[in-house]
């Protein structure tokens, strides 16, 4: 079985075929930026994008992910290291506290901005409600998404 993550194709050892996507990413491929927190699809810490849709990878089987384009936090910046405007806004607004939830937050925010180039607070609250942050960085996430949205709109 093959898995394509951040543009790179990986052959997955048969011992790992029954694992969920999260564990394969983290413990087989060493892409540990995607994190485990609840394991039941309730918190968004494990969020990645599969063919452009944000998915909780703790609930995704390997077979459903195989053959699709998977994007993880490690693939969010440009190849030359230039950060995505969302990542940059996250730094500028000093969003992370412990940081544990933030890969998932960024993945969800990325798909939100694909769906909606100019989200208001209500749009953000709705889209981001599945991504828990125990540290309570929510006000800064709201600000950063709006900031990045402006940057992305202007770049168009």
């Amino acid at each position: 079985m093959k898995l394509k993550v951040n543009g790179v194709e990986y052959e997955i050892d048969p011992d790992w075929h029954d694992e969920n996507l999260l564990d394969v990413l983290r413990d087989y491929l060493g892409l540990t930026g995607t994190r485990f927190s609840c394991g039941i699809g309730n918190c968004g810490a494990c969020m990645v994008q599969i063919d452009g849709l944000s998915i909780n990878s703790c609930l995704a089987s390997l077979s459903m992910a195989a053959g699709k384009e998977i994007l993880t936090i490690e693939g969010m910046a440009a190849d030359d290291g230039t950060l995505h405007p969302l990542q940059q806004a996250w730094i500028d607004e000093a969003v992370p506290q412990c940081g544990y939830c933030q890969s998932g937050q960024l993945m969800r925010a990325l798909s939100l901005l694909k769906e909606n180039a100019d989200p208001d607070d209500a749009d953000i609250d709705q889209a981001m409600n599945g991504n828990l942050c125990r540290c309570g960085s929510y006000p800064r996430i709201r600000r950063s998404i709006k900031k990045a949205a402006i940057v992305l709109r202007e770049a168009r």
């Binding site: 011992d15 790992w16 029954d18 694992e19 969920n20 564990d23 983290r26 413990d27 087989y28 060493g30 892409l31 540990t32 930026g33 995607t34 994190r35 485990f36 927190s37 609840c38 394991g39 039941i40 309730n42 918190c43 810490a45 993880t72 936090i73 490690e74 969010m76 910046a77 950060l83 990542q87 996250w90 730094i91 000093a94 969003v95 992370p96 506290q97 412990c98 940081g99 544990y100 939830c101 933030q102 890969s103 960024l106 953000i124 609250d125 709705q126 981001m128 409600n129 599945g130 991504n131 828990l132 942050c133 125990r134 540290c135 309570g136 960085s137 929510y138 006000p139 800064r140 996430i141």
Partner: protein, 734 residues
Amino acid sequence: MVQLTRRNFLIATGWIAGGVTVLYKLGSRAKAVAPTIIFPDKEMASTWIQIRPDGGCLMYCPRMDMGQNANTGLAQIVAEELNISTNDIEAVQPSTSDVPPLAVTAGSMSLTAFSRPMAIAAASLRENMRERAASRLKLSIREVLDDQAGFRATDGRLVRYADLVNEAPVFVEIDEHSSLPDLYAFDTQRQKKQVGQPVKPLGTRDIVTGAPLYAADVPMEGVLFGRAVRPPVRNAEIAAVDTRGVTDVPGFLKLVQEDNFVGVVCKTPGSVNAAMSKIKVSWHLKQTINQDEIDRLVNVDDELERGDLEHTLHDEAHRPNADWAVDLRFDVQVQSHAAQEPRAAIARFNEEGNEEGTKHLLEIWTGTQDPWAMKRFAALHTGLDEEDIVIYPQRMGGGFGGREHYEVEQDAVRLTSAIGRPVKVQWTRKDEFMAARNRPASAHRLRLAADETGRLTDWWHAYVTGHVVLARERLPRWLLPVARLREDMGVVRGTNPAYETTHLRVEYKDVDLPVDLGVWRSLNAAPSLFAIESAMDELALQLGEDPVEYKISQMRGELTRLKVCLERVRDMAKRYPVPEGEGYGRGFACGIYEGRCFVAVSADVYVDRDKERITVKHMCCAQDVGMAVNPDQLSAQMESNMAWSVGMALLERLEVGDDDIQSSNFDNYPIVRMADMPSVETEVIDQPAVPPAGAGEVALIAGPAAIANAIRNATGYRPLSLPISFADIAYGQD
């Protein structure tokens, strides 16, 4: 491998292998300026800072990072002293073999205890560099002036630190003859470049790019995966184990069954889950676990009737039969830390020593507030010498007081020693709930009386709570009875009234509860202040006074810093009028944390009778924790505490079932989500002349009471029990 690279890196820079120019020993003078009894190894502050041959600065982070970003504040102070930019400091988290023991990262102590020794160390290093510059330029020291990352001579010549360092990095030497250098960070007259600036926290870029940071991220050759069965409470003993079918699970490697422990090692994380689902354990419990039992144990009214509150904190001209204007009972339920990261650890035995030829027989990678305690525990557990064990502390995905103990680490050590390969143990979310050392439930009886002019005259606060710092799970059994003769500093926190009163009694009893207890963000201060600030609000309303003005008028005269916070928040809130109409309300609360942090909070709520929902719309928070080293990070902590305030006021309650902990995940222990989160406005009150105090848990003491008071304002109903649900609200008129 992350850790090994880091060690190689340290060796390469000469940090841990010889080549050190000056070996450092701190003299008595520096000791005298940092009188912190719980930090016995403060001497070492200077070894944490070095100037590298390339002129850069490397700093060991003396605090364990879990989101409070204390190391960033310390780096700002170091940068201020060295005339460099904070972001040019390379910060490294030391292992237990890199530096002598450091105090546990807890209780918002980080900045208070560490800022001054580190400032002295960095300033001494700067002066050492100045001497080098003077001798190179053949000038007197007075002719060598500060400049960015170096010096400027009065004749205009520039030298940088890089010009002044040879092959080996430079540490500083201070002894009892050293004079105390000028401390820029603490100079109130000085225009500062780093301190007081909203510097971005260390490591933020790593977080947003998904770099490996937490224990479970550490890459490890040949690692296997394991887990053990967690007991519902720590003093439970295994009664029976059924492991049928475990060995048939694909990927299964080993079942480990020894004194009160059942665990497995498997090839993959998924096979661990499958194997663990086959294991059935029943437990011998020493105490019945259920909610009724908890309610019974903290029933303050029963205890008052029996005269059974054993500790008295204040007893001044107490009048038990005063004419009580307010006589209310407040309850707070058990709460769990629910940090976003479920704990994980990797352990590995090394018969030969590790790749660098050092001799550690046991290596543990984990996120912990107290790596050195971890090392001692591991030594006791394995019988190894402490020198043979090394703990590599990793960033924590939230701590909040819950990560001081040798637990997930112990599981990893047992399993790795059974299988002879490195083992990673990743707790599930349910394990994390089962293992939490929760905030105890508590019950408070608050009685207040005032004279005919409205002046507060009598104060009687009686409460019962579970143990906190002296919880059964935190101390060896033999020590408990002795330790408990003294006050539990977690249980008494926050109970000293901020208001002037003639007749005063504060008494409490602390008890063992049938769930595991420990230190939870702000300890007893938030529950106590919920009761106190609600009762004061009620007293003001009964007297027909505005609660904020009434509190200000009754506040102890010396508490001007608290008064300023409350006035500030009152004025901030004024800018947003409370909407007209049913269900809108505003409440205020304030409090003092650890005697040196002051905070006030306002909350605006909307209680929607149709949707049967309470929403916190907006909160304002003004806080004074002394010198504001990083105002933006102080704001971040205030925002975080507002999130926890909403959770504590409206959502969080550990569900306890019959002989079991039922909260097992975020679906049955809800925490604040984006849609629950109010907008938050913060104001940092800077006190440049007051040493900085940590702000990680301060604002939580006032938030829940502000929300409760807002609900009272919106509905006329006085919330008496946390968490408050819509169903509790008794609408008076109908």
